[in-house]
């Protein structure tokens, strides 16, 4: 099946500065994609280019098989059938909730319009707030109105720019789950950008980790976490540490945690130095273990404690330990490695 959205080697610049370089990605119909990256990495620019607000320097953007942007050509935003949820929601303060949602539907006749607005507001659970104005509802409700307004015209593609960043932490978590359910129920193809991994993991089917205008890896959340393609991604996604190791033979690795066994996917010569990704859950607390480490830092997290530990060879690892095992910085504790996949990078990478 042809992808609904396809970006082919697009580049973007503000003046002489390239902000997006040779970036490609594609989304199938019904998929939710996410661009994840720190601020200034170019992710919002990509989104705005897809929406048609920024001209393209190089490459091509295709929507449903038709070219909407290429160098020197840009279909006006209004003709793209793309919906957008802005970071500050951009609700129209002079219109009621109903009129905000109805804004993109004015070509419909009245009964159909009312039906569609109600449907959209019902979907986001705000059917009772019709006559209020944006300033009269909470931030979370405003976010949902923005979503309903963007979904009501039934766009081919929905774009969301940091959709949850203006909400407080608990609301953010709940709403991100809700938004995924709503999008899936609507069958909407969507692409959103965020700097928050948890949001990306909670909402997206496919995530692109962006750094200075490039996508480093375009993959599912599971693969990003367990099979990062570079040390940068390994460090950016999730918690954990890179420790030094040496390849003993096809299935064995010598590290500060002892001799580790597992599948080594990369073709690496015996004796070559490598870096191994160790996640906090890969390190198990075990007083009987011969491997000892010194507690450097502890952070209490309720059910568990995240320890930063220094191994005998000076490498640092993290360990997630049930919180009844309470140790203070400076204490020496026994640990046991429990590494399932050996995620290795050449030491010079």
């Amino acid at each position: 099946m042809e992808p609904l959205l396809e970006l082919q080697q697009i580049s973007q610049a503000y003046g002489p500065q390239l902000v997006v370089k040779d970036l490609s990605l594609s989304l199938k119909k019904g998929e939710i994609g996410c661009l994840l990256g720190a601020s200034g990495c170019g992710k919002t620019t990509v989104l705005r280019t897809i929406a048609g607000f920024e001209p393209l320097l190089q490459g091509e953007i295709r929507l449903n098989g038709t070219v909407v942007s290429r160098a020197g050509f840009s279909l006006p935003p209004a003709k793209r059938q793309i919906g957008m949820v802005f970071q500050d929601y951009a609700l129209f303060p002079h219109l009621s909730i109903f009129d905000n949602v109805a804004f993109g539907l004015r070509k419909l006749d009245k009964t159909e319009l009312i039906r569609r607005v109600n449907q959209a507001l019902e979907l986001v659970g705000l059917q009772t707030e019709l006559n209020k104005y944006p300033h009269e509802i909470s931030g979370g409700q405003q976010q949902r109105v923005a979503l309903a307004r963007a979904l009501a015209p039934e766009p081919q593609l929905l774009l969301m720019d940091e959709p949850f960043s203006n909400l407080d932490v608990t609301l953010r978590e709940r709403l991100s789950m809700e938004v995924r359910d709503i999008l899936k129920e609507f069958g909407t193809t969507a692409l959103f950008v965020t700097h928050n991994q948890n949001e990306a993991f909670a909402v997206a089917d496919r995530i692109g980790v962006m750094h200075s205008g490039e996508i480093l890896q375009w993959d599912s959340a599971h693969n990003l976490y367990h099979q990062p393609v570079s040390p940068r991604i390994a460090e950016f996604v999730g918690e954990g540490a890179l420790i030094n190791g040496v390849v003993k033979n096809a299935g064995q690795l010598e590290t500060g945690l002892g001799l580790l066994e597992g599948i080594i996917k990369r073709p690496l010569e015996v004796g070559s130095p490598v870096q191994l990704l160790v996640r906090p859950e890969d390190v198990v607390h075990d007083d009987a273990s011969p491997v000892k480490a010194v507690v450097v830092r502890r952070s209490f997290r309720g059910a568990s404690i995240l320890y930063a530990l220094r191994l005998a060879n000076g490498d640092l690892v993290q360990a997630l330990v049930p919180s009844h095992c309470d140790h203070q910085p400076g204490e020496k504790i026994g640990i046991q490695p429990d590494v399932r996949h050996l995620v290795l990078f050449p030491a010079d990478a």
């Binding site: 209004a78 500050d88 951009a90 129209f92 300033h135």
Partner: protein
């Protein structure tokens, strides 16, 4: 946990009642000021109890229809003109980016520095039949060339629109600046073309601000005395002046004034409504949004348009004033000029200090008593800005003259001595009228500074052992200094260029620069009026610079 906030509230209440011993004193004070403002309005309303029918009949037969038509033309025309200029300029400099945008954005406020009557006489001097523009054009194209008549309703509307558009511009620019391109983009993402988006979203979103600016323009247009009298264009304000000083009929002046007050009252109600709407609409907007970067020919078009308006409304008239001033400098710069300047400066200084002091008291009263009564009294106290100067002059003079007569009668009957009038013929009447008219300008400046002195600042100071006079001197005054300075400047300049109140209530021998301009321009002596006008223009630049620095900080 729950008793804690209640405890704190109790503590701070006790603290404050110790600091300001008699809270009701503040309310009394506010009440007195409010009464001062209400007095002229009440007096004018009472003029209807004893209507001078003969005068009415005379007015109705000769004048009233023309007054109404003229005033309506003026109001509709100037509102339309200022909206067109103000909104277009505000959108370009507020939401767009083009060459020269930064400088133009504040330069377009410069016409505020020029009193309307100054712009008017310079325009007449420039564009009249004998003026340099028409003379030049005739020498190029021959005598037969048709030129629009400057001394016409169209001319008044044009000049006043050029002078007053900054009110709309200033408010609308803030609205467009917070909108940026985001609002338009949101509309486009929902299927609007840019043009549709402009009319469906950009303009309606800025409507409260635009309308706010327009009401200010309406008030100015209704209140204007100087410009229309130079044009010989009869409106209510000139009619009030003529009734009093031409027919010596104070009752007729009062009755005409009361009509104008009724109009103004409607405007006040509308404006207060709009202010509330602005507060709501502002709640969720980004402080400074990204601009629409104009491309290609459009950016030069935008740039050219802004420069053209600036040139016509300010640069050319200012240059012309300078030229005239240089021509007549030797003849006019003498002790008489210095005397006029001295009077203007002295009056402006006294009223600035007086108003700043009263505004400070009002602001403290509002801080101590956030209740509805005090807030209502304060709002009443600052309503005077809406009263036209001519109306205020009549409304103040009548009760004070009555009071004077009462005192004289009392002295004669009970003390057996003949007294001269206490208040009439002193500058007290003028100062009182200024106080009422310009209280809002001073109060707004000081009160916005007062809002920064939050109650937690008081509490923090108290924890460090500061209270009473020390708290005032070391915390409040330094924090209020900027606001007080702004208030002093704004009032100072307003009084400097004030014309009708000064003209109608000044004691003998108290001519000022603006009065001199009135006398000279009513005889068509544009050149000789240039020096005092230039002086006023220079003083008018001070608050513009303040405003500029403030908007740079935002």
């Amino acid at each position: 946990m729950t008793p804690l906030p209640a405890d704190r509230a109790g503590a701070s209440r006790r603290g404050s009642s110790r600091f300001f011993t008699r809270p009701s004193g503040w309310q009394w004070l506010t009440g007195v000021i409010a009464l001062l403002v209400l007095t002229p309005i009440t007096v004018l309303a009472l003029a209807w109890l004893d209507p001078a029918w003969e005068i009415w009949q005379h007015l109705q037969e000769t004048l009233l229809a023309r007054l109404l038509i003229n005033t309506a033309t003026l109001v509709v025309g100037v509102t339309g003109g200022t909206l067109l200029l103000g909104v277009s300029l505000a959108w370009l400099t507020g939401a767009c980016e083009f060459p020269g945008r930064r400088h133009l954005s504040w330069a377009l406020l410069l016409p505020l520095a020029m009193p309307t009557y100054v712009l008017t006489f310079v325009f007449l001097g420039l564009f009249d039949y004998t003026g340099p523009v028409q003379t030049q054009l005739r020498s190029w194209f021959g005598r037969g060339i048709w030129m629009p008549e400057m001394r016409s309703a169209g001319g008044v509307v044009l000049v006043m629109s050029l002078a007053l558009y900054p009110y709309v511009y200033l408010l609308a620019r803030n609205a467009f600046r917070t909108q940026g391109k985001r609002a338009l983009e949101a509309a486009e993402s929902l299927g609007c073309s840019p043009l549709e988006g402009f009319f469906r979203v950009v303009l309606p979103m800025a409507r409260p601000w635009i309308a706010g600016g327009a009401t200010l323009v309406l008030m100015e247009a209704l209140a204007d005395f100087g410009a229309v009298s130079i044009f010989n264009y009869d409106t209510f304000t000139t009619a009030i002046y003529k009734a009093w000083f031409g027919f010596f009929s104070l009752p007729a002046a009062a009755q005409l004034s009361s009509l104008l007050v009724a109009l103004v009252f409607v405007l006040i109600v509308v404006e207060q409504r709009l202010r509330k709407r602005m507060r709501y609409a502002q709640s969720r907007l980004a402080p400074q949004a990204e601009r629409i970067v104009l491309q290609g020919g459009k950016r030069w078009l935008a740039c050219g348009y802004c420069w053209l308006i600036l040139l016509i409304a300010f640069l050319l008239p200012a240059l012309q004033l300078l030229r005239w001033s240089l021509e007549i400098f030797h003849a006019e710069f003498d002790s008489r000029y210095l005397g006029l300047l001295g009077h203007s400066l002295l009056l402006a200084l006294i009223s600035a200090v007086l108003i700043a002091a009263v505004a400070l008291l009002l602001s403290y009263a509002g801080r101590r008593h956030p209740g509805r009564l005090t807030q209502g009294l304060i709002r009443t106290s600052t309503l005077g800005y809406a009263l036209p100067g001519t109306v205020l002059a009549v409304g103040i003079f009548i009760p004070l003259a009555w009071l004077d007569n009462q005192i004289i009668d009392f002295a004669r009957d009970h003390l057996g001595s003949e007294m001269l009038p206490l208040l009439q013929g002193t500058i007290a009447i003028m100062l009182l009228a200024y106080l009422i008219r310009f209280m809002a300008a001073g109060f707004k400046a000081i009160d916005s500074a007062m809002h920064r002195v939050t109650s937690s600042i008081d509490e923090a100071s108290r924890l460090m052992g500061l209270r009473g006079v020390k708290l005032l001197a070391r915390v409040h005054l330094p924090m209020l200094r900027g606001g007080i300075f702004t208030a002093l400047t704004l009032v100072f300049v307003d009084v400097m260029k004030e014309m009708p109140i000064t003209l109608m209530t000044r004691p003998f021998g108290w001519d000022t620069l603006s009065v001199k301009i009135f006398e000279l321009t009513s005889e068509g002596e544009w050149e000789r009026a240039a020096l005092p006008a230039l002086t006023l223009l220079l003083s008018g630049l001070i608050p513009i610079i303040l405003l500029m620095r403030q908007s740079d900080k935002d």
